[in-house]
Amino acid sequence: MNKILRDGRVRLLVGIIAALLLLLASGCAGKPPAALSALHMEAIRHNQRGVKAEAKGESPQALEEFYESFRINSSIENTEGIVVALVNSSRVYRQNGDVKSALAMIGKALPLITPVDPLYSDVAFEMAHVQLLTGDCDAASEWASKAVTADTGAKRGMRMNLLARILYLQGNRDKAESRAKEALSLNQEKTMLHEKANSLRLLGDIQAAAKRNTEAAVSYDLALAIDKALGKSKKIAADLCGLALLSLAQQNPDQAVKFYQRAFTVSSNGGDEPGAADVLSKISRIREKQSEKGQPKLPLAERDTVRRTLGTP
């Protein structure tokens, strides 16, 4: 026996078998995940399909899936699933401009949870967005503050960004800047890069409004770099528009037009037609002002493009 064991190849084989047995034992020792009922799983699948449909821009399909998820979760009294379905529905309605329906959905979710619930921050954040769209900045600010307070995780920077933006819209520039900077420091994780860009863009807006043009330009450039890296067309166009406004503030309309033209190219190729039309109208206004001051008029082809896009005769 010892002779056999002394053989190197046999020892290697025994070692491999022992290692495999150990590996097998370690795999079986893990705690199995809690089993979910078939209905619960189905509700989750509907919700996941809704999220995927919305990502593909199929909002009606997404809303159907969320409704189905809501219905199934309601049938098994799964409050968490119900709240998720309602928040998702509200978000889809809001992103499609149906503020009334969005408010109705998020209004249904609120009574179902308490401020200590892990989902409370998401609900308050959504409510702040909806209130901002209704024009009630005070209520929006209140809900954004609640969202910030309730969130201690990675999304706290995102909540803070929204609060800073609302404060800026309310005209409270100093508080907005301090919150935006706080948000910038919170949004340093890789997963929150898009929010970091949002913080920088907002800072750029605030600094431009305070005529701190150099700081603003730096902020916009940094935001632009991040948004380009992330490939977010709308955000890139927003950064370029910020830079264009900054150029206008610096009495450099030609530079502003160049930024706007870049923004137009990005928006039109990114499928954001309303954004592209908006940019074109801005270019048109600058050209008109220039022509009043004796500068060459808007080239005919460019003007026609503007008119076609805006649908004016």
Binding site: G30, P32, V51, L119, F125, H129, R159, L162, R165
Partner: protein, 324 residues
């Protein structure tokens, strides 16, 4: 000396006596005449009646029978019942006509004449009323009552008339509107007439042109018919060709239809065989899929795959952004 033997004084006493006698005779004649006029010398008898009101009656008021005055009202007095008792005096000569069924009435002689008491003649067989008897008073309507009655009867008529006038005068009513329409129609008729006149004038000119046009059209049609003739010949030739080939074509079509019929019969036969098996196959496929699902689920729960299968996330939210 002057003597009393003047001739003018002879028989003076006689003359004075004569004149006095004439005066006394005249005076007596006047008295008699007045007495006769007031029936002082006529034998009379009294009759009585009672009325509600004494209005219109007066002492001395004439009592007439068939238009002749036969007496007067002798007295008017208020009795215990607050009614008015009236006593009349009537000449005895007329008593034969005033009987138990006679009645007295207070009437006016004409529309504006004096009021009188009129007694009606009794029937032939009735008993004659004696002195102090009560005669029946028949109330007649006064002018005011007659007027009121008349007013009551006329009032609804007047209201009707007022309504009719109001209806006729209503600017939005049917009659006014009809009148307005008639006026408009009349005005329109004038313009219509003018248009009709103009139309007739135009028509005369057009008929001339139309006639000329029709003639030209007929000529053109004749030309076209002449031109169509060769085409029709071609069509005729084509039809002959079609007639020659049609039987063959029909035969081919019939053969094709036969083939189609056979094919459809075969299909029917096949579907008849296959159709009952389709639900079974579907059920089987469903079962197979469920089995596969079960196997996949089982595999998911098996080490080492279970460590790589993502745990379903309840809290999957649509991605949000602070600057949407």
């Amino acid at each position: 000396m002057i003597t009393e033997e003047d001739r003018r004084f002879k028989h003076l006493e006689k003359k004075i006596g004569f004149f006095v006698a004439i005066a006394i005779a005249g005076f007596l004649a006047v008295i008699v005449f007045i007495g006769m006029d007031n029936d002082l010398f006529t034998p009379k008898y009294r009759l009585k009646f009672t009325v509600e009101k004494g209005t219109g009656f007066s002492r001395g008021m004439p009592v007439k029978l068939s238009g002749f005055r036969i007496g007067r009202i002798n007295s008017i007095s208020l009795n215990e019942m607050a009614r008015v008792d009236i006593e009349i005096q009537v000449g005895k000569a007329y008593q034969k006509w005033i009987k138990k069924d006679s009645v007295v009435k207070l009437v006016k002689e004409g529309l504006v004449g004096d009021s009188i008491i009129e007694v009606s003649v009794g029937t032939h067989n009735a008993e004659v009323l004696k002195d102090g008897a009560v005669i029946t008073f028949e109330k007649t309507k006064g002018l005011e009552e007659v007027a009121n009655d008349l007013a009551d009867q006329v009032k609804p008529v007047l209201i009707e008339v007022k309504d009719i006038i109001g209806y006729v005068n209503d600017p939005n009513g049917d009659i006014k509107q009809s009148m307005k329409n008639i006026r408009k129609l009349t005005a329109d008729l004038h313009s219509t007439r003018e248009k009709v006149d103009a139309l007739l004038t135009d028509s005369k000119q057009h008929v001339g042109r139309l006639t000329a046009g029709t003639e030209m059209l007929l000529k053109n049609t004749g030309d076209k018919i002449n031109a169509i003739a060769p085409v029709l010949e071609k069509v005729d030739r084509s039809m002959t060709t079609v007639e020659q080939h049609l039987p063959q074509l029909l035969e081919k079509a019939a053969t094709t239809m036969d083939h189609l019929d056979k094919t459809s019969r075969n299909l029917e036969k096949i579907s008849g065989t296959v159709a009952p098996r389709v639900p079974v196959l579907l059920n089987s496929a469903d079962g197979t899929l469920q089995g596969a699902d079960t196997v996949v689920d089982a595999l998911k729960d098996t080490w080492p795959l279970k460590n790589h299968v993502p745990v379903p996330r309840e809290r999957e939210l649509v991605p949000g952004d602070s600057n949407e």
